[in-house]
Amino acid sequence: MFKKILIANRGEIAVRVIRACREMGIGTVAVYSDADRAALHVRMADEAYLIGPAPSAQSYLKVDRIIDTAKTAGAEAIHPGYGFLSENPEFALRCEQEGLVFIGPTSQAIRAMGGKTAARSLATHAGVPVVPGTTRDLTDEEVLQVATEMGFPVLIKASAGGGGKGMRVVSAEAELAGAIRAARSEASSAFGNPAIYVERYLQRARHIEMQILADKAGNVVYLGERECSLQRRHQKVVEESPSPFVDADLRCRIGEAAVKLAKAASYTNAGTLEFLVDSAKNFYFLELNARLQVEHPVTEMVTGLDLVKEQIRIAAGEALSVRQEEIRLRGHAIECRIYAEDPFNNFMPSPGRIQVLRNPSGPGIRIDSGIYEGCEVPLYYDPIVAKLIAWGQDRGEAIGRMRRALREYVIIGVKTSIPFHHRILDHPQFQKGEFHTQFLESWLADGFKEESGRLAEIALVAGALYLHTKKPSLAAPGGQAAPAESLWKLASRHEAVRRK
């Protein structure tokens, strides 16, 4: 087993990996940029090294710096987290060449599954159904031809990437030229590659993904699915496991397809296969994410497994700790991704200093986060600040716990998506489990403008009393609150009133 691991990431996922290492008695090495000197992951690690200025391209994406730091610190393995270098085949290859263990799949497997058209092709050969479309990159003329043959609406996608970039839905031939131009341009700037392909656009489908683990001996298991249909601009907002739409039979069919494809790709370590599922319960392979995903906690909560520890064990050459027959899904888990964004202002990123932080807790509540009261949320990186996860014996209890926890969760100083999550969890469609990938966006299109104002009277009364007991003039610009009345003073006044 490794004695020391370098975590090539930051924020909540770096904290997550450090925790797993600590539990396994493995030393931890953190890396940080200028913007992250005060970050939580730096304080939690055993060792920490500065790797560059704030922008990711000059720090967290600097392959040489990270490799050198690992060698200086004597780390035997590197955990890449998600994002950053986690699916960069060159980085995985460099690790292999430098005698460092990359905690993830081989660079070859990353390369094979990273190109979306190659992955679709591999799936088709393995007998796994794919969304109808092309399995190779297309020229502009070919896009027109394919789209006309398939029938509109179609989806133009970037071969080299994901995360919603380089994607365009085209409903009619007239929109095609503009959409191709836009998709190629976005793909070029996001992934350095303008290659595109075409899929049929499945309306009202669900985005369901299957978690797998594969060891180096070729054993592969599936750990149950995650329902990820609630997305905004192709970014997941709320995830859950199991999916309210998936029955045992569908789970088995998707799981076995996932295992088949992973074996065909000689995939190792943790991975997630994404599928679209239509209302007739047909499933179609979309892509394989060759990394640990943001939403892995919901799978951990329902399976009882620690996926990061499994990743480390697999990387160290150990066999899988579970067999397929032993894997059971128990209860139901929901995750809300808390972003530093303003839901009342088009989800604009909201960097800044967190002045007040009160975390929810109690039965069935888990928080994976990299923030603390007083910390700065920098503007250079992904605005995810925390993940709130609720587990219950069934979906109803999980929802109840999540709603309770959201009410306890107070973050002041940056705008967060918490009010947005309140509304989603309160929505009858969500509670019934009846939704699909377009649901959130069409609901948002009707406007998410105002704060709920549910307790407006209380807020107005409290605000007035606050100002009244504060006393200094309202005109003070950007006024700091005067020191709150001491509880002793209040208590003695209370006593005086009581004695009368």
Binding site: M348, P349, E457, V461, G463, A464, L465
Partner: protein, 168 residues
């Protein structure tokens, strides 16, 4: 002390008449007996007729308070009633504006200015488009008013916190 309080386009009258324990507060037509206890920092415990609430109050500048109740924020513009009348503002009950500053949320570049000076704008109307973090963001008016100052030009770089447009 009496305040006018603007919330979601409506103006309310809030009068604090007694600050003993309990305090007495009249909100529009209703009177509340309130036990208002500071806990520390921004946190207060409020009990009204036995109902208990956890409240955070944060000042957002220019008389705006953000009052958090049960994890949900309420942006309220307070003004002492005497001062408001002197400024010739509208009576309670009517739709109110108040001074708004459109502020750059982070460093970026002004892509497009959508309004002109003296233009009448309404709540939610797009005022200026700023590009930052590879995304374009349209900043909107939070309430109705008249554009008083446009402090930047298209193409200008802006810093986080810079006031871009003033609406009154």
């Amino acid at each position: 002390m009496t305040y006018s309080a603007d919330f979601q386009g409506r103006t309310h009258r809030v009068a604090v008449t007694e600050t003993g324990l309990p305090a007495t507060v009249q909100l529009d037509e209703t009177t509340y007996e309130v036990d208002f206890a500071p806990i520390g920092g921004s946190l207060f415990s409020v009990i009204i007729q036995g109902r208990s609430y956890e409240i955070d109050v944060v000042e957002d500048g220019e008389g705006v308070l953000v009052v958090w109740v049960e994890g949900e924020p309420h942006h309220i513009q307070f003004e002492e009633e005497g001062r408001r009348r002197r400024r010739g503002a509208r009576a309670p009950g009517q739709v109110a504006g108040g001074r708004q500053t459109i502020v750059a949320p982070m460093p970026g570049k002004v892509v497009k200015v959508l309004v002109s000076p003296e233009e009448q704008v309404s709540a939610g109307q797009g005022i200026i488009v700023v590009e930052a973090m590879k995304m374009e963001n349209e900043l909107k008016a939070s309430g109705p008013g008249v554009v008083k100052e446009i402090r930047v030009q298209e193409g200008a770089g802006v810093g986080g916190g810079d006031v871009l447009v003033v609406i009154e």
